[in-house]
Amino acid sequence: MAETLLDIRDLKTWFKTDDGMVRAVDGVDLRIDRGETVGVVGESGCGKTVTARSVLKLIDMPPGRFENGQILWQGRDLIPLPAEEMDKIRAREIAIIFQEPMTSLNPVYTVGDQIGEVIRQHENLSKKQARDAAVEMLRLVNIPNPGKRVDDYPHQFSGGMRQRVMIAMAMSCKPKLLIADEPTTALDVTIQAQILELMQEMKERLGMSIMLITHAMGVVAETCQRVVVMYAGKVVEEASVEALFGNPRHPYTQGLIRSIPRVDRGAEQKQRLEAIPGTVPSLLQPPTGCRFAARCKYVMDVCTQAMPPLKEAAPGHFVRCVL
């Protein structure tokens, strides 16, 4: 078995709001091994982004706080780590890219400055050397004419190019893990394909792992080896990508897969979409039982009484359902 890089255990990240405590992440277990791509899927508000940001402790505290759990990075818990120690992990060991390439770069500095800043922080380089390294990174992510573009400001780049710059920045210290938080959601489909391919290429070149946060099942199916499905702050299913799409066990996962229109199906297979009725429950006072119970078509009495545990239904296939 491969070496475990990241091991999140029973993580609870809650937010204090005017209306009460929002349990955005409410007991999440997640493991990422060296060299693998793990997809974390779920709808908006399911806690996938908060989980990702919790790993790098990028949550504003207050209003957020770690209520419980451990984030073990190569065996070391990050939660109690002091800020200076955490800064040595950021970018050098774990890097992150975000959904909105348009707003993720500081508009008042050149992209060269911003890439150079990371490099100089973690490696002892001169300004000139850092600039050269930034040019090299831009070349690596296939930005045309990197020697010239390194002095351009973010607003002079298109959305897809900015995401490339973000990837260049994230890769510049050769991290072991890249957290990609909806990296292609804001991009057009042809640009999305380019970025996904670039990430794949980077992964192979640097031998790193990827934690891919997304709501698009298609993206997961095409890029990940293992998938974690989240619903209302909890992991409901975890399996290899083949097992998850071939034999989804949780009713939510099943619904999610069946509610997507499939462009590859012929007319004869075309059918009405299977919608999941209702809406996501409030994370302020989540229901006591299974959080999906109110929308589940197989719901039973036992579902509303206690939260079912995440149990191994088949080797490597975990599901949080009594069925």
Partner: protein, 308 residues
Amino acid sequence: MIPSLLGISVVLFTLLAMAPGDPFDELATNPAVPPEVRAALRLKFGLDDPVWMRYWHWLIALMHGDWGFSFVSRVDVSTLIMQRLPVTLVVIGASQVLAIAVALPVGVLAATRPYSLFDQIANTFAFIGFSLPTFFTGLVLILIFSIQLDWLPFVYRADIAATGWAFYWEHFKQSVMPVTVLGLFQGAALVRFVRSSVLDVIRLDYVTTARSKGIGERKVITRHVVRTALIPVVTLIALQMPIVFSGAVVTEQIFRVPGIGSLLISSMLANDTPVVMGVTFVSACLVVIFNLIADILYGWLDPRIAFR
């Protein structure tokens, strides 16, 4: 900039032209001026010309620095203003520096620790600061530091009979109160603005990106937050210049600082119209110049502007 100055000159001229009576009333009521001289003056200043002609002549004269003649002091208005202007600029400049020096750190600190005790105290003082009218703060300071404690003089004297360090010390002592009054009033409004501007920036995605780089919170705040948050602050400082001038007029009046503000008030009370017009125009010009400086600073702070 030129259109604004022209606009201001039109506003001023319109006011002057609409005002009843004639700017030469003062001369008219003065028995020492013979009627034929008055008629000659009317002709010279073209008072019987159509309005636009009068405006044109007035504008040309204005641009040549020919701003008229003070009826009271019997000197050229431009000379009078040039005598008084440096004092005002020093007071305003010093108070702006004080305001920024107080507001920047306090505002940034308050915004990085929202709802902390520090934030709440800073916020309360900011509210008190800009709710206190300058004339009242001035009187209270005089009451405390000049009358009760007798530390500081409450009359500003232009002619200090001292040399060397003593000269500067006296100047410093008499400037403390006017500068403080004006500076704290400005600073209070600025604290709130800096705080909100920083709060706006601190939520942005690129600040999270900066944090994820592991460069440390200090660098994140100074390099990535403050720099961008300053952009709207610069605009606000420029936009507030008219208010600063208003404050300066009052402060100069209270502490009897011989600047253009007190010149304005004394000329009004003495019905010295050319001086009143001149001072108003000069202060308008200064505001426009400050706006221009702000625009330049803005372009320098924000690279996106240059490409528009």
